[in-house]
C-alpha cells in the first residue's frame, strides 16, 4: 500500500474500531431529534406545500449528522494524536502534506456518509421519503462532508488542547448547523434572519441536499453546489498552506 493508502486505512480503522461510539451513537441521537421535533412541530412549522414536516425534517437531520460527524472525525483524530504524541508516527515517514490532507479528509467523508446513510435508513422506518434526484443527494453529501472534514483538520491543527476543539465545535460548527435550515425553511423566517442565513455556507449544503429528495428548494441547487465547491476550494487552500508550513505540527 502507498503511504497515503495506509494513512487513509488507519483513519478508517480508527473510527470503525469504535463504531458504537462513532456511528451508532450519532444515528440514535439523530433519530431522537426526528421523533421529538416531528411530534412537536408537525402542523406548526410552515415548509413546502406538498411536503409534510416530518419528511422535510429527515434530509436536514441526515445532512446535519453527515456534517457533524465529518468534522468530529478529522478534528478528534488529529487532536488525540497531537496530545498523546503519536502524531510523530505520521510525521517521521515520507508522507507529503497532500497525502496527509487527502487521507484525513477522505476518512471524514466516509465517516460522514456512513453515519448519514445509517440515519436515513433508520428514518425510512418512520417517514416516507421521495428520492427525486439521487445524484444531487450524493454530490451534496460528499461536498458537505469534505468541507467539514477540512474544517476539522484546521481545528485539529490549530488546537493544542481538547477543549479548544470542543470550543470550535460549540461556537462555530453548532451555530452554523442549527441556523442553516435543518429544522425549518428559511422562508418561514423574518426578512432579517432570512438575509443573514444566506451568508451561512451550511444553509446551501442543506438546501441543495434537500433538493435531491423533493425536487424543490429555496435556492437553485446549481448555485448551492457552486457555493459549496468554492468554500471547499478555499478551505483546502488554507489547510494545504498550513500543512506545507508545518504550522503547529513541525516546530
Amino acid at each position: 500500500m502507498s503511504g497515503f493508502g495506509t494513512l487513509l486505512y488507519k483513519e478508517l480503522l480508527r473510527f470503525w474500531k469504535v463504531a458504537f461510539q462513532t456511528v451508532a451513537a450519532p444515528v440514535l441521537t439523530t433519530l431522537l431529534y426526528l421523533l421529538i421535533f416531528s411530534h412537536v412541530m408537525q402542523g406548526q412549522a410552515r415548509v413546502y406545500d406538498a411536503v409534510p414536516y416530518s419528511a422535510f425534517l429527515v434530509p436536514g437531520l441526515v445532512m446535519m449528522a453527515v456534517l457533524q460527524n465529518a468534522f468530529a472525525n478529522s478534528s478528534s483524530s488529529l487532536i488525540q494524536s497531537k496530545i498523546t504524541g503519536n502524531i510523530i508516527f505520521m510525521l517521521l515517514p515520507p508522507l507529503s502534506y497532500w497525502d496527509f490532507f487527502a487521507a484525513y479528509v477522505l476518512a471524514s467523508v466516509v465517516r460522514g456518509v456512513v453515519v448519514g446513510v445509517g440515519v436515513l435508513l433508520v428514518s425510512l422506518g418512520f417517514v416516507g421519503l421521495s428520492f427525486e434526484h439521487p445524484l444531487w443527494i450524493i454530490a451534496f453529501a460528499v461536498a458537505g462532508s469534505a468541507i467539514l472534514g477540512t474544517m476539522g483538520l484546521i481545528a485539529g491543527i490549530w488546537a493544542e488542547k481538547f477543549d479548544q476543539v470542543a470550543a470550535f465545535q460549540g461556537f462555530v460548527i453548532m451555530p452554523l448547523t442549527f441556523l442553516s435550515g435543518v429544522f425549518y425553511s428559511i422562508h418561514s423566517l423574518p426578512a432579517f434572519w432570512q438575509g443573514l442565513s444566506r451568508f451561512n455556507p451550511f444553509f446551501y449544503m442543506i438546501d441543495g441536499f434537500r433538493y435531491g429528495f423533493f425536487g424543490v428548494s429555496d435556492i437553485n441547487p446549481v448555485l448551492s453546489l457552486g457555493i459549496a465547491g468554492a468554500s471547499l476550494l478555499l478551505l483546502t487552500a488554507v489547510t494545504l498552506a498550513l500543512l506545507k508550513r508545518g504550522y503547529k505540527l513541525r516546530h
Binding site: 500500500m1 503511504g3 486505512y9 469504535v18 498523546t84 504524541g85 510525521l91 515517514p93 515520507p94 508522507l95
Partner: protein
C-alpha cells in the same frame, strides 16, 4: 564517502531561547556515535531537526546525502528515530502498529521483516495485544521496532533506556550493537555516561546549543591524565597538607586527585607521617563522567568570565524546551 549525517551551521531559536547556536557535525557511516549533554542542551531539538519534526532557522542537515527539507522523502527513508517519550496509539495492537508504520513508508510485503523485528525484540508473544495493555518496557520495544520497519541505514535513539529495567537495557544494547555490526549507523543520547562510554566510539558533548567537546571516547577519557587515590584511614585525620588534593571526602574515606602514579608514594608517606594508618586503598582511573563534569564546569567558568567582560551579553539561557 558520503557522511551518514552531515550538519552544517544549524541554528534554532524558540522565542527568546537559543536552542541551537551553530552546530557543525559529521557522523560517518557505520559509526556508533554518542550525543551527550545536560537537560536543555539541545540534543532532542537537534534530533527533531534531523527527523523533520522541527525545522532549523538556518543551516543545513543531510542524512545519507539527502537534504532533510528539499529531499525529505529520501532522507526520512534513510532515518529511523526512537523518540524519547513513550508514545503509542491506543487504537491498535502491536502488529497493527508495525504494519501501519511500514505502510507509511510505502512498503509492501514487509511481513517477514516485521516478524523478524518482533522476534528479536521479544514482542512476538504480544503481537496481537493492544498497545494500551503493554508495560512501559514493552512499549519502548515497540518504539524501537517502529523505527526499524523500513530498515533505515541511520538509527537515532533518544534516551532509549530512560526508566527501563536492567534486563531490558542489556537486551536492547545487545540488539543495537548487532545492528551496528550489520553496518547501521547509530546515534545515541543518554544520561547514563557508563553506557555511552562502553557503546560509543565517538562522542559529542552539547551545552546550551553548542558542541563543547567532540572526540573519540578514548581520547576524551584520556584527556584527564590524572588519577584518583581512594583511602580509608584510621588513627589520625588527613593531614592538612593534602587538603588541596581532596576531591571527595566522607571521613574516614577520602578520594584524592593525583597527577601521576609517581605521586602515590609521597602521598602515602605524608599520611603515615601524620600518624594515620591506611586500612583500605584503591586507585581509580577517571571515567567519562569525570570528563563530562569537567567539561561542563569549564564551560560554566568560561561563560561567567565572558559575562564579566561583557555585561550586556546574554550567554547563559537555562532551560531550553525539550521538544
Amino acid at each position: 564517502m558520503t557522511p551518514a549525517i552531515q550538519i552544517r551551521q544549524v541554528h534554532k531559536r524558540f522565542g527568546a531561547v537559543q536552542a541551537l547556536a551553530g552546530i557543525d557535525l559529521e557522523v560517518a557511516p557505520g559509526e556508533f556515535f554518542g550525543l551527550l549533554g545536560p537537560n536543555g542542551a539541545g540534543k532532542t531539538t537537534l534530533i527533531n531537526i534531523l527527523a523533520g519534526l522541527a525545522r532549523a532557522d538556518s543551516g543545513s542537515v543531510r542524512i545519507m546525502g539527502h537534504d532533510v527539507i528539499a529531499d525529505y522523502r529520501e532522507s526520512r527513508r534513510a532515518l529511523g528515530v526512537v523518540p524519547q517519550e513513550l508514545v503509542f496509539d491506543p487504537f491498535f495492537s502491536v502488529r497493527e502498529t508495525l504494519h501501519l508504520q511500514s505502510g507509511y513508508f510505502g512498503l509492501r510485503h514487509n511481513d517477514a521483516w516485521i516478524d523478524e523485528v518482533m522476534h528479536h525484540l521479544d514482542l512476538t508473544g504480544k503481537a496481537d495485544a493492544n498497545m494500551r495493555s503493554l508495560s512501559g518496557g514493552m512499549k519502548r520495544r515497540v518504539l524501537v521496532a517502529q523505527a526499524l520497519v523500513h530498515k533505515p541505514p541511520v538509527i537515532v535513539l533518544d534516551e532509549p533506556t530512560a526508566g527501563v529495567d536492567v534486563e531490558l537495557r542489556q537486551g536492547l544494547w545487545e540488539f543495537v550493537r548487532g545492528l551496528n555490526r550489520d553496518g547501521h549507523t547509530i546515534v545515541l543520547t543518554t544520561h547514563y555516561l557508563e553506557e555511552a562510554e562502553t557503546l560509543c566510539a565517538r562522542i559529542a558533548m552539547l551545552k546550551q546549543g553548542r558542541i563543547v567537546a567532540l572526540d573519540t571516547t578514548n581520547n576524551l577519557v584520556n584527556r584527564l591524565d590524572n588519577l584518583y587515590l581512594k583511602l580509608r584511614i584510621a588513627g589520625a585525620a588527613l593531614p592538612a597538607a593534602l587538603a588541596a588534593r581532596v576531591r571527595d571526602s566522607h571521613d574516614p574515606v577520602h578520594t584524592l586527585c593525583l597527577r601521576s602514579y609517581a605521586e602515590v608514594e609521597g602521598v602515602l608517606a605524608q599520611v603515615r607521617e601524620a600518624g594515620a594508618r591506611i586500612e583500605e586503598l584503591e586507585l581509580l582511573q577517571p571515567d567519562l563522567e569525570d570528563v563530562f563534569v569537567q567539561i561542563m564546569n569549564r564551560e560554566e567558568r568560561r561563560e561567567v568570565g565572558a559575562e564579566a567582560l561583557l555585561p550586556s551579553s546574554r550567554l547563559a539561557i537555562p532551560g531550553s524546551p525539550q521538544r
